[in-house]
């Protein structure tokens, strides 16, 4: 039960800071809230027997992607959002309605489908042992893995091309 408690606390923290992220007007604060949220999520990952994913989550998301966000925010010196005077009442009303409807539908879907997970098949192995995961990744999913490496290269080149100034090397 300690695990469940820890999970609920971590998930609650993640949700709370996600809310902070959405509500906060300043993008830098949003990013920081999201860092905390992601860190809490990493804790939940550990509790869900996925320590490698947790580490990757922290290294890649918190350590790289969000730092990149911060870097861009600082580079562009993005100011805080200010309340728009005319606003967009139609959009906002519709959005709020749609979000509520979505949340309700999601709850209903969880109620009817979520619990129908099949009973566990084999005995779970030691979550700390990364070898089975690695074996799976480099055998069954090798092609996806290689495709991903090409995708990353393409993204690298694309980002470079997009962000460089005209005429600079």
């Amino acid at each position: 039960m300690t695990a469940r408690l820890a999970f609920d606390v971590a998930a609650g923290l993640a949700i709370f800071f996600a809310c902070v992220m959405v509500v906060h007007r300043h993008p830098v604060k949003s990013v920081l809230a999201l860092v905390v949220s992601f860190f809490a999520l990493a804790v939940t990952y550990v509790l869900l027997s996925a320590p490698l994913i947790a580490a990757v989550q922290v290294i890649v998301y918190a350590g790289a992607i969000l730092v990149l966000f911060l870097f861009v925010l600082m580079l562009l010196n993005v100011p805080a959002e200010v309340r728009q005077t005319p606003g967009r009442p139609i959009h906002h009303t519709l959005s709020a309605g749609a979000i509520v409807a979505f949340a309700a539908a999601l709850l209903a879907a969880l109620r009817s489908y979520g619990a129908t997970a099949a009973p566990p098949s084999p005995a779970p192995s030691d979550p700390g042992d990364l070898a089975p995961l690695a074996r799976l990744l480099f055998s069954d999913h090798l092609l996806s893995f290689e495709a991903l490496s090409i995708l990353l290269l393409a993204a690298l080149v694309g980002a470079f091309t997009l962000a460089r100034r005209e005429g600079s090397p």
């Binding site: 920081l32 860092v35 490698l52 580490a55 990149l68 600082m74 990364l130």
Partner: protein
């Protein structure tokens, strides 16, 4: 879990932290005296014999100074940033094994804070978080020099982390484990028979060089201390900081140096192992701790040595070195290690 077990566990974790906190003020003295030595000047020599009490004076000074917060700063983040930096630095030490496994009274105690299966990943996860301290300090100060420092730091750390991780991947590949204790044990074997079980620095010299250079960038030490380059940015991200907050940045920098040195020793110089030393009995284990401490000290000294020897890189040179030299070299090293593993040399 008995009380004794808990106590031992706490001791295992806290011992290295305490050791670092004790050594920390000394390091500052060593650094300044070393600078004097290298630059042919006395260095601090007024407080106590050979200026040995200078660190004490400094600590007192830090405590006594007025703690200023700029009026336009983001107070919360401004206060949070130095704590974050120090915290990230200190927690990193938890997974580094600092001695051989101790067997006392039927208890087996590995001399490491926490022997986790993803030790190296944990290390990199926390190092990558350490950037937040600097970036937030730079941004929350609301000062253009600080902001520049923060921006530089984020770009620099993201860039060099890549090379550093890739270089370390070679070690992981050779040890076929992320577990740092295993990395160390693996380096305590045969030097002259195949498969090679000596220090990693021998087969992976290129990886070591990449890792070590990246380590300088990761810790913002000269020649890569662009986030605080005093000639351009006054003092970079900590321009506005004073008193204990400044001291925490100062501390975290030294802690980072120690951690990175310890990591270098662990990954490439056999950790606490020494050829010919078998850590049997309490004496042997203590000896292994001593070996580890000496190796780490030496690497720390190299950090200082380099600081007072090399000039600072220009920013574009820094980026070019990271992306066009170190990263390809690290990849090359990875291929090399993979080949060695396939050829059963490692």
């Amino acid at each position: 879990m008995s009380g004794a077990d808990l106590g031992i566990a706490a001791l295992r974790v806290l011992a290295p932290v305490l050791a670092i906190l004790i050594v920390l003020p000394m390091l500052q003295w060593v650094e300044r005296r070393g600078a004097g030595l290298i630059q042919d000047r006395p260095g601090p020599n007024r407080v106590g014999p050979f200026g040995l009490l200078q660190p004490v004076a400094d600590v007192v000074k830090f405590f006594m100074k007025e703690d200023l917060i700029p009026s336009n700063a983001d107070r919360f983040l401004y206060v949070l940033a130095p704590g974050l930096a120090a915290f990230a630095a200190m927690t990193t030490f938890a997974v580094i094994p600092y001695g051989a496994t101790l067997s006392v009274g039927g208890r087996v105690i590995p001399l490491v804070g926490a022997d986790v299966s993803i030790g190296i990943l944990y290390l990199f996860a926390l190092t990558s978080l350490s950037v937040y301290g600097i970036v937030l300090a730079g941004w929350s100060s609301n000062n253009k020099f600080s902001l520049m420092g923060g921006i530089r730091s984020s770009a620099q750390i993201i860039s060099y982390e890549l090379a550093m991780t890739t270089a370390a991947a070679g070690v992981v590949l050779a040890a076929s484990s992320f577990r740092l204790t295993e990395v160390v044990v693996r380096q305590g074997g045969s030097w002259f028979a195949l498969p090679f079980r000596g220090w990693n620095v021998v087969p992976q010299f290129v990886g070591f060089v990449v890792f070590f250079v990246s380590a300088f960038a990761e810790t913002n030490r000269l020649p890569f201390d662009l986030p605080e380059a005093e000639a351009e940015l006054v003092a970079g991200y900590h321009t506005e900081y004073s008193a204990m907050k400044f001291a925490m940045f100062y501390m975290s920098e030294y802690i980072n140096v120690i951690v990175v040195s310890a990591l270098t020793v662990t990954l490439y110089f056999g950790g606490w192992t020494l050829p010919g030393l078998s850590p049997a009995g309490i004496g042997g284990v203590l000896l292994s701790v001593l070996v580890f401490a000496l190796k780490t000290s030496f690497v720390v000294w190299v950090f200082m040595w380099v600081r007072w020897t090399l000039p600072r890189f220009r920013y574009d040179q820094l980026m070019r070195l990271g992306w066009k030299a170190l990263l390809p070299l690290a990849l090359l090293n990875l291929f090399w290690v993979a080949a060695l593993v396939v050829w059963k040399v490692l």
